[in-house]
Structure formats: C-alpha cells, structure tokens
Amino acid sequence: MSQLVYLVPLFPLIGFLINGIGWRRIPKSLGGVIGSLAVFASFCVSLGIFFEVKSDSFHGPVLVQLFEFIHSGKLFIPFSFQVDSLSSLFLLIITGVGFLIHVYSTAYMHEDEGMVKYFAFLNLFVFSMLLLVLGGNYLVMFIGWEGVGLCSYLLIGFWFKNRDYTNAAKKAFIMNRIGDLGFLVGMLLILFNYGTLSYQEFFGKLQGTQAAGISSDTYNWIAICLFIGATGKSAQIPLYTWLPDAMAGPTPVSALIHAATMVTAGIYMIARSHVLYTMAPMTLHIVAIIGLATALFAATIAIKQYDIKKVLAYSTVSQLGFMFLALGVGAYTTAVFHVMTHAFFKALLFLGSGSVIHAMGGEQDIRKMGGLGKKLRTTQITFLIGCLAISGIPGLSGFFSKDEILAAAYAHDPVLYYLAVVAAMMTAFYMFRLYFLTFTGGFRGTEDQAHHLHESPTAMTIPLIVLAILSVIGGYVGLPGVISEHHALGSFLSSSVTNISEHHLEASTEWMLMSVSVTVSVIMIIFAYSVNKKPDFKPATGFAKVLENKWYVDELYDAVIVRPIQNLSAFMERFAERKGIDGLVNGVGRSVRWGSDRIRMLQTGQVGFYIFVMVLGMIALFAVGFFWVKL
C-alpha cells in the first residue's frame, strides 16, 4: 500500500485540473462533488497507509522515488516520498479535516459565482500540502511549501474585486516569501556542507559525524535559517501580521489553511528535522522563547478584538506559539499531538463561526450579535465544545495536549511554565468572552438580521458535529504518564520522532501542574462570564486601546520597513532609473546620432575630397604595411 502513496497527492491534483480548466462550464454542485471526492479518495488511501505503518510488519521509513528530479554532476536530488509514522499521521489529518471542510464548503459557497474555481484552488492547496508532508527531501518539501503559500494567496484574495482583500493576500504572500528566503538559505547551507537534501542521508550524516569537522555553529545557522522559514509560514513573531488580515478569505479557507494545515507546516518541518535541532540547543532556546512570546502577545491582542474571525485568528497564532514552545523544550511528539488536537477544535471553531456569519447574513462584528444560541442550537453546542477544548477543560482533547506542553515546559524551566500558564489563562478568557458575547444574552443586531437567523444546512452542520466528536475523543491517544503507561500517539510516532526527556517529573508534580492549569482556566471562564453579562462597548482608552489596535505592530512595520523601502524605490526611480539607466540607454542612442551627424560631414559629394581621403588612406596603408607589419 505504501508503494501507492503517489495516489494520495494525485487525486487532488486531478481534481484541481478538472475544476480549474472547466470552471466556467462545470455546474456548481458537480464541482463541489469532484473536489470533495478527490480528497475523500486521498483520505481512503491515507487510511490504508496509516494502518500499514501501524502494523507490526512495517519496518522503518519507506522511500518511494517517483523520478529523478535534479541530476547535475555530483548533485542528485530525486523526487521521492517518505512514508513513515510522522508523515502518515499528517496525511490523515490533512485529508480527513480537509474532506470535512470540502463538504462544508459545498453549502457555504453555494451562492458564489466562482464556486468551482474555489474548489480547484482548495484541491491545489491540498495537493501542495500533501507534497510538503510526503517529501523525502527538503526540496520536495520546499515545493509544497511554496505551493501552499501560493494557494493561500489565491484563496485569501478569492473575492478579488475587493481591494482590501487582495492587499491582504499580497501581504500574506510577501511575508511568507520573506520567511522562505530563510528556508532557502538553510537548504543551501545543508547542501553546501553535506551535499544532500534527503532526510535519511542528511540525518545519517549528522548522527555519524557528530564530532567531525563541522562546527556546531553550522548546525545553529542551518536550524535558525529553517526556523525563519517556519516563522513566516506558521505566523510567529515577527512574521505573523499576515494571519489576522488573511481572514479576508472565505471562512472554510480560514479553517483549512490558517487553522488546521498550512500554518502547521512549520511545526512539521521542525519535527521532521528534530535530529538537527537536538544538535543545535541554542536554536531550540530561540524557538521556545519566540513561541512563548508569540503565545502571550497574540493572546493579549485577542482579548480586545470584536471581529469573530480575528479573535480566532489571534487564537491560532497563540496556539502555534504553544506548539513552538513545545518544540523548543524538546517535546517534539507533544507538539505534533497539539497540532492534531488543534486541527480538530480550531477547524470546528472556524466552521462554527462560518455558520454564525452565514446566519447573520455576512455580519462578523460580535458587538452586533448575542443570544444566537436560541436559533442556532447545533452551532452553539459544537462551538461550546470547541471553546472547552481550547481552554483545556479535562476530558476533552485540548486538555491532554496542552497539559503535556505545560508539563514539558515546567520540566525544562519553570519560568517558561508560569508564562505559558498566563497565556493559557488569557486563552480561556477570550474564547469564552467570544462565546458569551455571541451565543448568550440579548440580540444586539438589526431587525432584518433577526429575521434572517436560521440554522445552517446539513452539509454545514454534519462536519461541525464530526469535528466536535473528534475534539472530544481525539485526546485519548495521548494519555499522560500519570494516568496510563501507554501513550498511544507517542509510541506510534516513536519510529520517526521522539521527545527529548531530560527531566522526568514526579507523579505528584504532574498532578499539581494539571490541577493548577485547570483551576485557573475555570476561574477565567467564570470571570469572562461575569464581565460580559452586561456588555458595554465604549470606545477603548489607554492600554485597552493599544490592545485593540494590535499593539500598533502593523503601523510599526509600515513606518520602519514599508515606508523606507517605498522611499528608496522612489529615489531609485528618480535617479538610478531615469537619470542613470534611461540616461545611459538614451545617451547611447543620442551619441550614435551625434556621431553619425559628424560622420555625415564626410559625404560632401566633392570628388576632390574623396580622392584626397583616398590618398591619405594609401599613405597610411603603405606606412603600416612597410614599417609595422613584418613582411
């Protein structure tokens, strides 16, 4: 079955081609069916691969080479897929959650003219993401990396007639590209120092030549460069500002790309390269600090946002920060665990918000919502489950994964733990603020909107229910050590990636940590309830105003980076382009003209003059011929 792994990206590619070429002629529902079926077929093949990998007869990573991609001199990079536990897990997440979102989109995008085009882009995205996780070397991963960036651009700017949306798409793509430069430099460093980009060869060389020649500086540089790529793709400080603006795209896009899959590419990359990162402890330290800082920073902003999708966007940035924190303390499997649970509940939350927006006829401001629970029962219940999961309430998936992260952080350095708990507190607070303001209390919208309120169609509610169930049971694959000896996910992944367990916590410490985090979360939920019972939306002042304006980071980037570059290019246009290059090119033309004007004087038409010049030429030829050239 693993030999058929090429089928997994092939189905979405075919779906993209069919929908992409015929989007004007294919009827809308058929386009939706094609797109969803393509991903479903991939899901089935991924299931088969998963069970094969899980079985005892599977030995080690399987490399399936499709063709020789680059073969030039000593450089040999094949286009190959690597099937092992890590990639098969990600395959399931991508195709599974992707399939649910495709089904959801068939209803959500039903009135849109370009619905078939939308499904083509979605399929292309799934294809690129699958390439990313299946790649057997950094180059194939990079192809997928760029591909998802492209599809993100296409999908964010899907309603292209709106200037703000296309600007948001540009912003996403450009910030991604800045990160990609780091990734590319990292790849080149690997190639230069080790001569290969394939995972197995590279990690083999790393482990073999641990003390040979290459300094630890090199590992750190490579790791940092790759991590810069991850900050761009996974929206960490400083390259995170594109994610909230990316909410301009349709909600299912936000669910798929910016919650469940694309933004987790950075995590996957670092988990895949854990051999490298373990040998570069300084970089791990940086990763942890940036992850933690991002988690805190984004949480503070989310507290004061009024757009339902923006809250969720900042929540995503914050949760990604948690995942990077986990990677930074060496808990690679934990980070992957949180990727999985986060995919479930974040996709659920986004799809739920999509349902709300659909019911409100396009309204996204939560100040105009309230009391929606009465009419949108299913949405309310599933949304509540999602909020409980993200806040880390015991029994749901988020609790297990988040607690594992907190425990690993504590084992590494208690300071990290305390700050992470603060971030978790804020997470609980803003999520439940969102929930209470949206679904409880009195309705604050207009009469028209009140009449329009209705529960979403089945194609939208079924994925919500499925994801809600997954958010509940998804955590039981990773029970902590104090409850059960067997960590299913950890042992499954151990063939490709393991946690670094340096300090082992005592059972009592673990129980204490768990109870602390649960308690503070519950306190914050009650606090959120009390604050938002009588919501009062006066314009923000002071510190609240800073939070509402996202700490003015966008304005800072604009002033420090964008303006100077624009001024520089205006300057270059005025001087280098107009005076310099244009002057040079036009000057060549002008000098040719001037020269020909002068030479034209030679053509006097006077025969006597011509004879004179002939005689002079003769003299010159004689002189040169007799005295210079050796006869």
Binding site: Q603, T604, G605, Q606, V607, G608, Y610, I611, F612, V615
Partner: protein
C-alpha cells in the same frame, strides 16, 4: 642603371600624378593625371620585367594599357554627358554623389 633609379623615377611620376589629382579642379585634367599614374606603374613593371628576365610583367603592362583605354572612353563619355547637363566640368559643381 641600378633598378632603384627606376623605382625612384616611377614613384616620382606617380606622386606627381597624385598631386595633380588633388590640386586641380578640372575633371578632365584629373583624369589625365590618373593616366599619368598608370603610366608610372607601367614603367615600373617593365623595369622589374628586365630585372627578373620574365616577360609576364610586360604582358601585365599590355593589359594595363587595354584597361586604361577602355576606362578613358567610358569616363570621357560620362564627363561629356555631365557637361551637357551642368555646362561645367568643375568638380565642385559635379557633386551629385552627395545625394
């Protein structure tokens, strides 16, 4: 007579012919100076023919005269025709090459 004397004589006649083409403005006189140059070369060829005791140089002189004769006939025909148009043989006026 050493052959250098013939070389000097021939070159002197040749250069006088060149000075003539440069100094005069009358097209016909210029033509005549060209004939003078051709003759100077003929003289030199004959001298070399005696030096090497080879008669092919004299054959060359023969053909040179042939060409000179043909050239004169055509050239003078052209000058006559121009004269009919412009009524002058001043080369400053015969400057149709300019266009």
């Amino acid at each position: 007579m050493p052959v250098q004397y013939y070389i000097f004589l021939s070159m002197a006649l040749f250069c006088i012919g060149i000075m003539g083409t440069l100094i005069r403005r009358n097209a016909i006189i210029i033509f005549m100076c060209i004939e003078l140059m051709l003759n100077a070369v003929n003289l030199l060829m004959v001298a070399f023919s005696k030096m090497y005791a080879d008669s092919s140089a004299q054959v060359f002189v023969f053909f040179n005269m042939v060409v000179a004769a043909a050239e004169v006939s055509v050239g003078l025909a052209i000058i006559v025709m121009m004269y009919r148009k412009v009524h002058s043989v001043d080369i400053n006026i015969l400057n149709r090459l300019k266009h």
